[in-house]
């Protein structure tokens, strides 16, 4: 998978989960869930950076 494809998929997933109304309910289950989901996005970004550096 090329970098461009990887970025596009990530962007698509993040946009979908953040913006599509039914998907929003998924990360609003508890008071801390929005933060956990947000952290998950950041971890993915950090891992992408790390794997890119390693490459």
């Amino acid at each position: 998978m090329s970098d461009t494809q990887e970025r596009a998929i990530l962007l698509f997933v993040v946009i979908t989960v953040l913006l599509v109304t039914p998907m929003r309910a998924f990360w609003l289950q508890t008071w801390w869930a929005p933060f956990a989901f947000w952290l998950l996005i950041i971890l993915v970004l950090a891992l992408l950076r790390r794997s890119r550096d390693a490459a």
Binding site: R7, A25, I42
Partner: protein
């Protein structure tokens, strides 16, 4: 017990003083300066996004809109996800052309100072509410801490404190130079301070009021309606609109642009900020709900929610002061950077327009810029006093955010849509500014239109939500922008600028004045001789070139440095005009670049290593690489990729960013295999290789050469993609085969015609006289000719199977075959044929094939000979060969056509009398027997065709 006014003020001033001193120390010390140049500091400095809105306003926002307050930061996170698509190309553009603001970007792309001025006015108007927000938050916080209501005096005191800080540091950094480590480091410390402040006060509340995380959980379990109130608003109309607005604000707000692009220390900064900035915003927001829940329990009923943070800390005054200092810190940084950014825009686009004389422009520029900083802060202060006190921090902040979203269409036109026109962006921006004024700005002053019915038409159920106003204004802007762009055309300058923006590597043309005197004269005509000499002198010192100079290389360096310095100070359009005489950007002036490059090259300047002058060479080299029709890759002595040109990007689907700087052995196949093989081979031989990678076939031709350098020997690889060439070859071969089949089919039809004519004539004679004495002989002739046709059809079938046709060769007696052919020819064409036979010889052939050839030659000879003149055919055995000569007494073949008579379709006969295939098919047949067919002119006129065949022993 309330704090003393003076103590709070002194503590606040001390904090700002520490920032100012630290900034100066870092700016002066190379050792400390590194703090301002690393990616972590840069990421933290981008935290200037978090202001008093974050520290105080988010709690108020959480009270009214629950977790919708997170949209303000989640939008930034989404923007960070898109850094490679949006921020990165914009950063490259800003670096390349030394642009200082979005006004510069749009003015450059659309070649319009008017556009720059409109953007400037719009941004100043849009950002003033934001500055007012900072002052209001700080003044309000101070009033709570000192125990009385917010007053004009208190607001003025803190506004003056923040203004003084902004002016002192702003003037220090408003000299037009980019990359100020002192500023970046100061902003990073400021970000750290406010982060620590809110985390600490959040921790204090969590443990002091809730008894820790477990206590907080218990509190919420007992009050499920609180959690529901937090989550429910996120499902409403405004969430997506807020995400969109903050997505744009993350990099288009003047302060974000200034820190994110103008102060970007290096290429590694953005990848780091991509995850560090969202992480920073996450951590700074974690305490917000905790502070809100505690505040709603502890705050007096009439307290504004924006002040809940301080109310929640009522029992711990030191934490209150810490929270307040966090707000002072955030507000000061925001006002500082915003005023610097806005002052640059105002100085570049408004000051020259409003009366500054050219001679004094540069001299007054610094004064104007510093004055603008003060003006911006004072205007924000006035707005703070003017705006109704009921407006929340979020209302004021969002008004600014919505304003900057209107820069997005123009930016999209800059980066992605070359068709966008100046008229389109001007019209769109005008509509955007009007919609912002009506839908967003005037409601801040209590003037609101009832648009609920209009919104309902577009499906918005809640007209009071923020979404409908945001979307309708933006949609109107985009609609007008696109429509007008499609209806208007771009000027030549716009087209050139659009190309330059779209492809940063194809950069602007450097049209260098012919001499030092010409440069001086040109600049002096705009800014006066004294100022011109001063600017040129400073640029010369910075570029380390003597002045005045007549050296072309030094002149190039000087021009590059001068344009860069002026671009940072007075905007790219004005700088180009001053240095290059106002000539439009022209990407066609290749000759000038070529000359400049050659001169640099001849002087031994390394185009990839030098700084100022190397821009010229690098631009030319980049364009050269981009224009080559073959792939070019160079590697250095460490086998790291240095150049990966655009043709190679096209072949490999790998961008230069993905390959440059990476070692060859990390490239994906087939490139790794190819380059490693070439690197091992010291010769410069051309290699052709075919690779199959993930079902894709690569057919490549490549060559390498050594690339000596100072640090060792690198290599250059030149690669051609043969895949398309091979495909073309296969296509031509297919067409050729079809053509051959067609040729043969025509030939076969031609040859079948001869025996068929014979059969018809003999059969016709026999029908008229069935009892003729030679009836049996005639019937045998018919059978023989029918067999001949059969043989031809078999030959066609063999050819069509494309197999190596293995003919069933047999021993064929030459003389007998010649006699039979003569009989057939006589039947077809009549006339006299003289026959001279030598000794009988045997050849390996097919009787049908040989007869076909001889009949064809005899018919041709008969047709060429005048009436009454004989055709002769003779056989001769010579050594291991037998020769058959067919001669006529015609006019012969013109000498100039003799070489062409064996070509398919070539004929000298009148149209309709021959297909031009007889001789070519005959030669083809004889070759298959191991023989040949040749032509020679007879000495006494006429032609001689000679069949030569190998003879075999009896």
């Amino acid at each position: 017990m309330p704090l003393s006014d003076s103590i709070l003020f002194v503590v606040s001033a001390a904090l700002l003083g520490i920032y100012a001193l630290g900034s100066e120390l870092i700016e002066r010390s190379p050792r400390w300066g590194r703090l301002g140049r690393n990616p972590v500091s840069y990421s933290l400095a981008l935290g200037v996004y978090a202001t008093t809105w974050t520290l105080f306003g988010s709690v108020g926002f959480a009270k009214s809109n629950g977790y919708e307050f997170l949209a303000i930061y989640v939008g930034v996170t989404l923007s960070c996800v898109a850094i490679p698509f949006l921020w990165q190309p914009l950063a490259e553009l800003v670096d390349r052309y030394r642009l200082g603001s979005m006004a510069d970007v749009l003015a450059f792309r659309y070649q319009s100072r008017t556009l720059g001025a409109i953007v400037t006015v719009f941004m100043v108007a849009g950002l003033l509410p934001y500055i007012a927000l900072q002052l209001r938050a700080v003044a309000g916080g101070a009033a709570i801490l000192v125990g009385h209501e917010p007053s004009e005096e208190l607001g003025t005191i803190y506004a003056l404190l923040l203004s003084a800080f902004a002016v002192v540091l702003g003037v220090r950094y408003a000299d037009g130079r980019a990359h100020r480590p002192g500023l970046v480091a100061t902003l990073a410390f400021e970000s750290l301070f406010k982060l620590l402040a809110i985390v600490i006060v959040g921790g204090v509340v969590l443990f002091a009021y809730f008894g820790g995380v477990r206590g907080l959980n218990q509190y919420l379990v007992e009050r499920p309606e609180l959690v529901e109130a937090m989550t429910e608003p996120v499902m409403g109309d405004s969430w997506v609109a807020l995400i969109f607005v903050t997505f744009s604000a993350a990099f288009l707000l003047p302060r974000q642009f200034f820190v994110g692009f103008v102060q970007r220390p290096g290429p590694r900064s953005l990848p780091t900020a991509r995850y560090m900035l969202p992480l920073y915003l996450l951590v700074i927001n974690l305490p917000v709900p905790v502070l809100y829940w505690a505040g709603r329990e502890l705050a007096p009923p009439d307290m504004r929610p924006d002040a809940y943070v301080l109310a929640a800390l009522a029992s711990t005054p030191w934490a209150q002061v810490l929270a307040f200092l966090g707000a002072v810190s955030a507000a000061s940084a925001m006002i500082l950077v915003t005023s610097i950014a806005l002052s640059g825009m105002v100085s570049n686009y408004l000051v020259p327009r409003f009366g500054a004389s050219p001679e004094s422009l540069l001299g007054r520029w610094a004064v104007f810029r510093r004055g603008t900083i003060i003006g911006v802060v004072v205007a924000g202060l006035m707005l703070h006093f003017t705006l109704p006190a009921t407006r929340s921090l979020v209302d004021l902040g969002l008004a600014s955010f919505v304003a900057v979203t209107h820069l997005l269409p123009g930016l999209v036109g800059t980066l992605f849509w070359r068709r966008a026109t100046r008229s389109g962006v001007l019209a769109g921006l005008t509509v955007g500014a009007l919609s912002w004024s009506v839908l967003t700005a005037t409601p801040l002053f209590g003037i609101e239109l009832d648009l609920s019915q209009a919104y309902a038409l577009f499906g918005f159920s809640d007209a009071s939500a923020r979404g409908p106003a945001i979307w309708s204004g933006f949609a109107a802007h985009v609609l007008v922008f696109v429509a007008v762009s499609l209806m208007t055309s771009r000027t030549a300058e716009e087209r050139n600028a659009a190309e330059a923006c779209r492809e940063p590597r194809v950069t602007r043309v450097l049209q260098v004045p012919n001499s030092a005197e010409a440069l001086e004269e040109r600049l002096a005509s705009y800014v006066g001789r004294e100022m011109a000499l001063e600017e040129i002198g400073e640029a010369a010192r910075a570029a380390n070139v003597p002045w005045p100079t007549l050296d072309r290389r030094d002149l190039l360096q000087l021009v590059a440095e001068l344009e860069g310095r002026l671009s940072e100070r007075i905007g790219p359009l004005a700088a180009r005009t001053y240095v290059h005489g106002g000539r439009p950007v022209s990407v066609d002036a290749l000759a000038e670049r070529l000359r400049a490059f050659r001169e640099l090259d001849a002087m031994g300047i390394d185009p990839l290593q030098t700084s100022s002058a190397a821009h010229v060479a690098r631009r030319y080299l980049s364009q050269l690489m981009a224009g080559l029709p073959v792939g070019v890759c160079t590697i250095d002595e460490n086998e790291d990729v240095v150049i990966w040109n655009s043709e190679l990007e096209h072949m490999s689907d790998l961008s230069e960013d993905q390959t440059s700087g990476h070692p060859v052995h990390e490239l994906p196949n087939p490139w790794r295999l190819l380059f490693e093989e070439l690197a091992r081979d010291p010769s410069d031989a051309v290699v052709e290789r075919q690779y199959e990678v993930e079902s894709q076939v690569f057919e490549l031709r490549a060559q390498t050469a050594m690339l000596p350098g100072d640090g060792g020997t690198g290599r250059v690889f030149v690669v051609e993609d043969l895949s398309s060439l091979r495909e073309l070859e296969r296509h031509v071969a297919h067409k050729d085969r079809l053509s051959s089949i067609g040729t043969l089919a025509s030939g076969v039809a031609h040859e079948i015609g001869n025996p068929l004519t014979g059969i018809l004539m003999v059969a016709k004679n026999l029908a008229e006289d069935p009892q003729a004495n030679d009836a049996e002989e005639r019937l045998n002739l018919i059978v023989d000719e029918a067999r001949r046709i059969h043989g031809i059809v078999q030959g066609l079938l063999s050819f069509s199977r494309r197999a190596e046709t293995r003919l069933a060769l047999e021993d064929v007696p030459i003389n007998a075959t010649v006699r039979a052919s003569v009989e057939l020819a006589k039947l077809q064409t009549g006339g006299r044929i003289d026959l001279t036979l030598g000794p009988e010889s045997i050849t390996r052939a097919t009787s049908d094939g040989l007869t076909q050839v001889l009949v064809n030659l005899l018919n041709n000879a008969r047709q060429a000979s005048p009436e009454g003149r004989p055709v002769t055919i003779s056989t001769t055995a010579v050594g291991g060969e037998v020769r058959i000569d067919v001669e006529d007494h015609g006019d012969g073949v013109p000498a100039e056509l003799a070489d062409r008579i064996f070509e398919p379709f070539f004929t000298t006969k009148p149209q309709g009398k021959g297909t031009g295939l007889g001789l070519s098919v005959s030669r083809q047949i004889l070759r298959r027997f191991g023989g040949s067919l040749s032509y020679a002119a007879r000495g006494e006129g006429g032609s001689r065709f000679t069949v030569t065949l190998p003879s075999v022993e009896n």
